[in-house]
């Protein structure tokens, strides 16, 4: 079971993981108003590919991780170009029709299911055990904190901070913010909106891959947890405000806390349900997230 201290450490670490996935949802939603139901499977898929290459084929982990990232980014590229762009509204249209909306919901779920099936086929012997790259831990105020956990937190915070920098200080980031804020205005000044959408989708896929590779010692190179990860990430994104990266870390912590504390203090069998409950409550009663007053999305 562990002490309360252990619990807090876990909440922070898992919260960071969920935050990374939340950011991926935020990016895609901000530019295209699409929720990618396969995002979690990008995460798990990357972990799986890295695990297969590193453990089964002895590829050095760094290269395996890179290859996983490239492959998943490619999958993202194909998904957005072939399946999503065609059903998005034109620049001068107001919003997507109901039929087209249902189309991309179904196709991204289809991508999720397909990836999961392929993952299962690639691992007929079951999950692949992967050991963390960094072992050992430190003692903080009497709590044992594994170094790997610290590494995860560091990477997550660095990633989010890095993205923040990118959005504020690079021209690509500015373009994304513009597209997220005002599609028509962006198109009118010659910002290539469709290219921006593809770029964010691929970027989000790459970020998901990073998260997936990072957490593979915990997911054990299995494809089946992907969708659940996606759900938790989506829950974190909605708590923090979908499309607004600034709430991702807080959202991740809230969801992780709900999950772990719920399991600890209420019922451990229902662990996976608590994040869902949080998500459902937010969706129904406060869809703009707990931070924002209006329905404006910012990146």
């Amino acid at each position: 079971m562990g002490t309360l201290g252990d619990l807090i450490v876990q909440v922070v670490v898992i919260g960071c993981v969920y935050a990374m996935i939340a950011v991926a949802f935020d990016l895609v939603f901000a530019s295209s108003r699409v929720v990618n139901f396969a995002q979690g499977d990008f995460v798990a898929g990357a972990g799986l590919i890295a695990a297969i290459l590193a453990v089964t084929h002895g590829v050095p982990f760094g290269i395996a991780a890179l290859a996983a990232g490239v492959l998943i980014a490619l999958v993202g590229m194909v998904t957005v170009s072939a399946l999503i762009l065609p059903v998005l509204p034109g620049i001068t249209q107001r919003s997507v029709s109901d039929l087209n909306e249902m189309r991309w919901v179904l196709t991204t779920i289809g991508v999720s299911v397909t990836l999961e099936a392929i993952g299962g086929m690639l691992t007929p012997q079951g999950a692949i055990g992967v050991k963390p790259l960094i072992n050992g831990g430190v003692n903080v105020a009497g709590i044992h904190v594994p170094l790997y956990d610290i590494a995860i937190v560091v990477v997550a915070v660095a990633m989010i901070a890095g993205l923040h920098m990118l959005l504020r200080h690079t021209i690509v980031g500015q373009m994304l913010r513009a597209v997220a804020a005002d599609r028509y205005g962006s198109a009118a000044v010659g910002i290539p909106v469709r290219r921006v959408i593809v770029a964010t989708f691929v970027g989000a896929a790459a970020l998901s891959a990073l998260a997936g590779v990072l957490i593979v010692p915990f997911t054990q190179g299995s494809a089946s947890g992907g969708f659940a990860l996606g759900l938790a990430g989506f829950a974190a994104a909605t708590v923090g405000g979908l499309g607004d990266m600034r709430g991702a870390l807080a959202g991740g912590m809230v969801v992780a806390a709900a999950e772990l504390m719920g399991a600890r203090f209420v019922n451990s069998q229902m662990e996976s349900v608590f994040p869902l409950l949080v998500m459902m409550l937010i969706l129904v009663f406060r869809p703009q997230g707990i931070f924002q007053s209006g329905a404006v999305e910012r990146v």
Binding site: M175, A178, V189
Partner: protein, 237 residues
């Protein structure tokens, strides 16, 4: 000298709705041309078609004697056209400076860009003053100037404006038009679409009166006012 803009036989449809029918239009380089007409007359559709925001169903658009029909917007910008959209659409959460950079996203930090910035600030000193402010904090008039400045950052040879005086106090609108005149003096060709025609007519060299998706009349401001074309197009009498 080739025309800055030449449009021939242009048809534009949005789905099944007809926005423009067989529109023909010429804009001489270095002039200010007004496109006036009631709403629904097709002014915005014309600008959209020129800038590649909508695909014409028929007809051609030539920019400085180059066929640009159906090219995407970013190509139009690199070929020397820029649009100031109706309602301004400045990026409210980003600063004035960031907005201006986005007007010419290709190389927003080179020396050439610094030159253009200087030009814009000369034209609109208020923007220099508020360079670090979020665009959403500016007044309507200042936002309009920012929108124009953003388009100018692309160093266009042809500047298109969609209802720049919308929602502005008369004096402010006048100053916008004066600024447009000074752009023409610097050699930029300007096309302004306006719903309320008289102010535009006071500043332009030539005007086209649109109604129901077709060109109803064209000519010099004096001729149009005298001939009653305005009254007829707007009020049907």
């Amino acid at each position: 000298m080739p025309d800055a803009l030449e449009v021939r036989g242009l048809d534009v449809h949005y789905g099944k709705a007809t926005a423009l029918q067989s529109v023909a239009l010429r804009v001489e380089e270095g002039t200010l041309v007004a496109v006036v007409g009631n709403n629904g007359a097709g002014k915005t559709s014309l600008l959209h078609a020129v800038m590649g925001l909508v695909h014409p169903s028929a007809g051609t658009v030539r920019l400085f004697d180059r066929d640009v029909t159906g090219l995407p917007t970013d190509r139009l910008v690199s070929l020397g056209a820029a649009l100031v959209p109706e309602g301004r659409h400045v990026f409210a959460d980003q600063t004035v400076l960031e907005n201006l950079r986005l007007g010419w996203a290709r190389r927003p930090n080179g020396a050439a860009f610094e030159e253009r910035l200087a030009t814009v600030f000369d034209l609109f000193p208020a923007l220099r003053e508020h360079a670090a402010r979020a665009a959403g904090m500016l007044s309507g008039g200042q936002q309009q100037m920012l929108a124009i400045g953003r388009a100018l950052a692309a160093a266009p040879r042809l500047l298109l404006l969609d209802e720049p005086s919308l929602g502005l106090a008369p004096l402010v609108a006048e100053s916008v038009f004066s600024a447009l005149r000074s752009l023409v003096e610097r050699g930029i060709t300007v096309v302004v679409a306006e719903a309320s025609p008289r102010r535009a007519l006071a500043f332009c060299d030539r005007a086209y009166v649109f109604g129901l998706g077709v060109v109803r009349a064209e000519g010099s401001p004096k001729d149009l006012e005298a001939g009653g074309a305005l009254h007829s197009a707007y009020l049907g009498t």
